[in-house]
Amino acid sequence: MLLKPQSKWTWLVAAYLFLAGIGGGAYIVGVVADWLGGEWAVISKIGVVLGFPCVLVGCAFLVLDLGKPENFWRAWMRPNTSWIARGTIVISVFMVVGAIHFGFWLWPFNSLAGADGARHAIGLLGALFAFGTAIYTGILLGASRPIAFWSTAMLPLLFLVSALSTGVMAVIIGAMVGGGAEGPILALGKADILLIIAEVFVVVFYLQATHRLPESRASARLVLMESVAPLFWIGVAGLGLIVPLVLEITGAFALGGTGAEVAAIVASISGVVGGLFLRQVVLAGGIHAPLKAGRFEYAVSKV
């Protein structure tokens, strides 16, 4: 019996999962930078500016994936039914709060730029919903109980760590382009080293946790050795973890000045792309449990 992965949620959904993560992560970086103040002010603006637009673009991908895109607004109508419905509320609140936060720096509200207390309060609220935006997608996939590769407590954690890491890297790219101060950029790079190391452990434990059921073992085989393996080893392990980790460590401890900056930007671009591949690997590895009747097992077909 050959267990086949689901084929209905692919790159469009992966792009959304990725952008929701990066937007939530970047916004959290922006809020923390806002609290730090001083030379972190530019970093803060970059994080906040990346936050809700990333999620908004992600939503466009999600709407494109719908069978009836014109019915997308119905996702708001039954908030208490499903993780898609709850998530829609969470990301909506995040985008509104993120836009308000962004608005503090725009005319005619820029007169409020001095209102630090109000902005920090908005930032705290936004950060809570950014956290929700980054993590709910893991819970959403996990609610699909027949797919054991998704239905695990490790998945929300994996998505959260990846969201924070790709968020930090997106802010580094933004700061390089937008002219952020050198100190904060190098500090972000060092923080990202820790996040990537954490992500390596989470990925390893996530795959290790697949050993218990035949369908999740089949998922692990698919990801590590079969059709999804190139995407995993090159995209996730290579571009997403090893390249940024090596470059960021070299940049932070061995190089200085321009060398460190080049290392940081290459590491960040590579790591961000890896974040997209990570979402696609998780989706493409999703296999439904076989149907069992007596001694016979049957693959669920055509899903």
Binding site: M1, G67, K68, R78, T81, A85, L291, K292, G294, F296
Partner: protein, 208 residues
């Protein structure tokens, strides 16, 4: 009243009549089967066994597809039949991920079975297409409804009527005296993958 099915695996010989009758009754387009037959094998030749497993929507009492539906399009009627409101569904396909039995289907566009019919559909296919569009349409996640329209007319579901092996029984699970309730009790009827807690309304009688 809770409609249910019994499928006797001893009697099924895998002729696919249920699958074909279902296609004829529901006008499902190419590649979509509300009722289908899965092939199972254990062992290696010469110590091998094969067993068919006819499947359809299990009309679960606790449907996973309904629990994940974000728009309220998936509904359960008073007889336990799970239906889809085609005007409410937005086609997110979450139900397809959550259904343990692979019984939610989505159709992007009408596909013909006949290579020469790419341009103009013949009258039969026109009929099937318009019937499909009336009831289901495209982009939404549809499913088997135990042929509820036929049942309301006093007929059996199409797959039951067509089964030449008399392996399929349709009836009321709430009535302890119904044929299916008695069969489930006497012949150790079981449900598929009870570990998901879905309480399917389709029971199987063990193969020999």
């Amino acid at each position: 009243m809770r409609y249910g099915f019994v499928i006797d695996l001893k009697r099924c010989y895998g002729c696919y009549s249920c699958q074909v009758a279902c296609k004829a009754a529901n006008n499902t387009p190419k590649g979509i089967d509300f009722a289908s037959c899965l092939q199972g094998e254990v062992g290696t030749y010469p110590n091998a066994l094969r067993q068919m497993l006819p499947t359809l929507c299990m009309q679960c009492a606790e449907p996973e597809c309904l629990k994940v539906c974000p728009t309220g399009a998936t509904k359960q009627d008073e007889n336990g039949i799970v239906t889809v409101d085609k005007d409410l569904c937005m086609g997110c396909k979450y139900c397809m991920m959550a259904c343990p039995y692979g019984q939610r289907h989505t159709v992007a566009e009408w596909a013909s079975y006949f290579p020469d019919a790419e341009g103009e559909l013949d009258a039969y296919q026109q009929y099937a297409k318009s019937k499909w569009e009336d009831k289901n349409g495209y982009g939404i996640a549809t499913k088997c409804d135990f042929c509820i329209d036929r049942v309301k007319e006093g007929k059996q579901p199409a797959c039951v009527e067509a089964c030449p092996a008399k392996a399929r029984y349709f009836g009321d699970l709430d009535d302890p005296e119904s044929e299916i309730s008695i069969l489930i009790k006497r012949e150790r009827g079981f449900q598929l993958n009870p570990e998901f807690g879905t309480e399917p309304s389709v029971y199987y009688l063990p193969a020999r």
